[in-house]
């Protein structure tokens, strides 16, 4: 391992530096708050020659991802980023990317959805893309954003499935934290150049996504479903190999904190989960055996790892920063309950929605919420 460089960087800058470290070829981009800083940084790097790549400033997010998937089909390593309504505008092309098995990596800087208009973080945007066939990571620190983008390229290109790397607007994207940038040699060892098995190549004319009868269409869809499930060991392998090459670790499919002997388990994603470690400490100080389970991977949902990690008779308090419309509560709670059913009847689940539209989630607030949930006799599930 060579000497790493440590700088102060925002989450957005960390993402841009990861794009540079990954030696990305093509970056289509379009501004949207709070993601814009990533595209500004990338455009600057391409212009200055720090990053040998093409930045394509297209006219909207639908075109961003349409340019991205086409560039990927031509054999390039492709990155882009968006937020909230930009991600929703891409929705059609998200399906094209996954169905087309094109390993694009996209950063979604989480932001609440219009209407009414909001600029600040919640997780409705990424969770609303659950069924698009993308693998999804959710990150809780600037360093994890950097590390995960590199791991995402590794996994996406191994399995030909696009990957969305999510992190919170402002609290991550615009806040400075120390960032360790491994030596380029170490990163190159971890992430070799993209060599797709197939690309648009005039020497080998072939068709891509033309009309497909059910006899072929159905197996394509089944393969996508199977391969998304098969990503779990690759995600773990990528995290381990990244640690071998750089010495850094954010967890693999999940991250846990003081979980082994916990009776009360907080479960959440993104930056609020980093803050929750402090809430766990507060609760421990109050005599409550609390712990944290943070899914890093949302799609595929790491069922086996969660089930294995939860202590016996755990009371799980799911803190959702999104709504599961049509159900009382949030989406993470529903996901958790669906994997526990029939496998862990000893575990109970309670759920609250909080932090919508960027409401600040402090360690004390979340500790108090968890205390209140413990005291609930039959809380809202």
């Amino acid at each position: 391992m060579k000497t790493a460089q440590v700088i102060m960087a925002t989450g957005a800058n960390a993402a841009a530096l990861a794009v540079k470290s990954a030696r990305v070829d093509v970056i289509p981009g379009y501004p949207i708050t709070p993601q814009t800083s990533i595209m500004e940084a990338v455009a600057g790097m391409v212009e200055s020659g720090d990053l040998h790549a093409r930045f394509i400033p297209v006219e909207g997010e639908h075109s961003v991802l349409a340019a991205a998937v086409a560039a990927s089909a031509a054999g390039a390593r492709v990155f882009t980023a968006t937020s909230a309504n930009g991600l929703l505008y891409m929705h059609e092309v998200l399906h094209m990317a996954s169905g087309g098995r094109l390993p694009v990596v996209l950063c979604n800087v989480n932001r609440g959805i219009f209407a009414p208009w909001t600029l600040w973080a919640d997780h409705q945007d990424s969770f609303a893309q659950r069924d698009t066939g993308w693998i999804q990571y959710h990150c809780s620190s600037n360093q994890e954003v950097f590390n995960t983008i590199l791991q995402a390229f590794r996994v996406a290109e191994q399995i030909n499935i696009p990957i969305m790397v999510n992190f919170d607007g402002f609290s991550i994207s615009h806040c400075l934290m120390p960032l360790t940038i491994p030596a380029q040699e170490d990163i190159d060892r971890f992430l070799p150049p993209h060599q797709p098995e197939w690309r648009l190549d005039p020497a080998h004319p072939s068709s891509f996504s033309n009309v497909t009868m059910a006899a072929e269409y159905a197996p394509f869809r089944q393969m996508l479903s199977d391969d998304i499930m098969a990503a779990v060991p690759l995600v773990k392998q990528a995290a381990q190999e990244y640690r071998d090459c750089t010495g850094m670790w954010d967890g693999d499919t999940i991250e846990t904190y003081r979980l082994e002997d916990a009776e009360v388990v907080a479960l959440a994603v993104n930056s609020m989960a980093a803050e929750l470690k402090l809430s766990v400490d507060i609760l421990r100080g109050q005599g409550i055996k609390a712990g944290l389970l943070r899914p890093r991977l949302y799609i595929p949902f790491p069922a086996d790892d969660i089930i294995q990690a939860l202590p016996k008779n755990a009371q799980v308090m799911v803190l959702d920063r999104n709504y599961n419309f049509g159900h009382p509560g949030g989406i993470l709670a529903a996901e958790l309950k669906s994997i526990l059913f029939g496998r862990r009847n000893d575990v109970t689940v309670k759920n609250r929605v909080m932090g919508i539209g960027g409401i600040d989630l402090t360690r004390r607030f979340m500790a108090a919420e968890i205390r209140a949930m413990i005291d609930e006799q039959n809380g809202v599930l």
Binding site: R54, A74, S207, N210, V211
Partner: protein
Amino acid sequence: MATSIKKLPDIEQVLSGNGACGGCPATMALRMVGKALGPNAIMLLTPACSVASMGMTPKLGYNWPCINITFASAGSSASGITNAVEIMKEKGRFEGELPTVFSWAGDGGTYDIGFQALSAAAERNENIIHFCYNNEAYSNTGVQRSGATPRGTFTTTTPTGKRQPKKNMALLMLEHNIPYVATATVAYPADLYDKVVKAKSIKGMKYIEILAPCYLGWQFDMADTVQLSRMAVRSGAWLLWEADNGRITFNNPTAQFISGKKNPEAVDEYLMKQGRFSRLLQGPDAKERIAEIQGDVDREIAFMRERAKIFI
């Protein structure tokens, strides 16, 4: 002088056994385009007749690598491909000559849903050729109106005839200040061939629009495709022109109408050959409706005559 049709290359990029209708003008035009572009090209399509007729997965009736992309994104997706191959070439990961990147879209994918991305690609002057094969309706979904449908046309969504004239898409593309714009049609294959050869040699954004009389949508005998294409030009309903770096020149026979050497034929015969017009031109107001269509044609000729005089 246009290249003689007898001297066109033998190369065939449109293969036999594809799924096009008999007399399909888009497929005829694509065959000419293939002779001009040759095999070193990447073809991008948006949902349209030409995707339906390219063959079922995994078969392919066109001898290029072909990608069918989302409907609204021909301009942006072609930009993605051309940037990808160029940067990979710079980085030593693409061997051989850079291919021509071209999109092949219908009038829906160009005039309507595809317009935003196409306009932006033109403004960025991306190194692509966008072909619009214009059959003046959504033929693939069973003939609905588009922005390219002329006034007075019956479609399934204009059951009493379209009330608005079509827009001049090729001129709109010219106003993006792109290096090359051309119009063509299947009755003049050598003219089309020459325009594609020229477009291939120019770096930057090229736009070529090909009038494609569709027997299904226009309601004529499929054996008459070429004849309808010729009648469209001879009546002035379709104008043949090209613009190099903004300088417009007209091609014969359109050039003769523009210069006043010859008058275009009246549109009546052209209209009455097509069920999409003739079924609505039987009533007591037939004269007025024909006059309205004739007025649109006359206006376009007069307008383009004046527009061609502007060159800075």
